[in-house]
């Protein structure tokens, strides 16, 4: 079993292709508020676990950093996240970028979705736009998207 074998299994899964590529010009990075959105199904321990085909999202507060991996797929290494949350969710690294002035600020709340989806219509029509609205209401400018 090697990582390349697992990747090869998933490489040909049908994926959504967009006819047009939306593109937003960001404010300067040093003034930007940055949020992380991950497809790793992370959640706080007290929040609802992800169901197998969960198309919703969970809000990840910046504190406490007690994130739990709720992903249903067995097809990734979880020990990296077990050792260091920043392997998947680089919140400490973003704080350091704020301290050195590279980015303006880090959002207080971030989002997690479940990446193990075969039907993306609910995310496209519902939870995706809802997540964007949630982030916009926090005045987020830039989103860093991380998978597992």
């Amino acid at each position: 079993m090697a990582d390349s074998d697992v990747k090869a299994m998933t490489a040909n899964i049908d994926s959504v292709e967009f006819e047009e590529t939306a593109f937003t010009i960001p404010v300067p990075l040093s003034e930007a508020k940055v949020a992380i959105v991950t497809s790793a199904s992370l959640h706080h321990p007290e929040d609802e676990d992800f169901s197998p085909m969960d198309t919703g999202y969970r809000v990840l507060r910046s504190q406490p950093r007690d994130y739990v991996m709720g992903h249903w797929s067995p097809n990734f290494d979880a020990t990296g996240f077990a050792l260091d949350i920043n392997t998947v969710f680089p919140i400490d690294r973003l704080d350091e970028l704020v301290a050195e002035g590279t980015i303006g600020s880090v959002a207080d709340e971030h989002l997690a979705y479940a990446g193990n989806q075969f039907d993306l219509s609910a995310i496209r029509m519902d939870s995706g736009p809802a997540g964007a609205k949630f982030l916009k209401e926090q005045d987020v400018d830039i989103v860093l998207l991380t998978p597992v």
Partner: protein, 226 residues
């Protein structure tokens, strides 16, 4: 990830998407995509390596300077060749009256608790099975491996989630038994190939497949290439 990138950009948010599978990030073409040839589960590359993670983030954030959609490849690869296995001292046999997998799981409990104390419970037991019930979950899979239909064997949840908790329990315990950060997949290979519980999970999975159970019920009990 890339789908969300398209949606967010359309709503006025600038995005940068990291991707671990080149064909996927190329096909879905997020407005700004950085393919990092890192093992699945480690999009920032190396756990507990602040400098490495900052280099990856720097490359990702640099894409925001592009005036148009952009795809880039990170210039460092981390390749798993499928051979590295965690080296963990295993607990000695304690109760010969128990199945070896159950005895083993019980023996790993102190290491599991040490790891939880150090790192928190990020991937360990608790989704379908609490740590106190890992041994009984293994006993249920032993019955499945011996031919009992899984719905009659006392499996305490969806088999894939129960397997995930057993694997998480073991991989978390292994963190306290190893003196270095494991390479990607080394903990999974250790669990599946070197532990008694891993053998039980794989045997139960095979028994369910042989019994004609629906493929999604047993397939996700282990990585799909197994």
């Amino acid at each position: 990830m890339s789908t969300l990138a398209h949606i967010f950009e359309a709503e006025g948010l600038a995005t940068v998407a990291l991707g671990s599978i080149k064909s996927q990030i190329e096909t879905t073409a997020p407005p700004r995509g950085l393919w990092c040839d890192f093992p699945l589960g480690r999009p920032l590359g190396v756990p507990s390596d602040q400098e490495f993670q900052h280099r990856v983030l720097g490359a990702a954030l640099a894409l925001l300077e592009s005036p148009e959609p952009i795809f880039a490849e990170y210039d460092v690869s981390i390749v798993d060749d499928g051979t590295e296995v965690m080296a963990c001292p295993m607990p000695p046999r304690h109760d010969p009256g128990l199945h070896p997998a159950v005895d083993e799981a019980n023996g790993l409990r102190p290491a599991y608790e040490r790891a939880i104390s150090e790192y928190g419970n990020r991937v360990g037991a608790g989704r379908a099975v609490q740590a106190d019930d890992i041994a009984s979950a293994i006993e249920a899979f032993i019955r499945v491996a011996d031919g009992t239909p899984w719905k009659e064997a006392g499996v305490p949840g969806i088999p894939a989630r129960v397997s995930q908790d057993i694997r998480g329990y073991y991989e978390t315990a292994a963190l306290a038994l190893s003196d270095h950060a494991p390479p990607a997949w080394a903990g999974t290979r250790w669990f599946l190939d070197r532990t008694e519980a891993g053998k039980v999970v794989m045997a139960a999975r095979q028994a369910m497949a042989d019994a004609g159970e629906m493929q999604p019920i047993w397939f996700y009990m282990a990585p799909g290439d197994r």
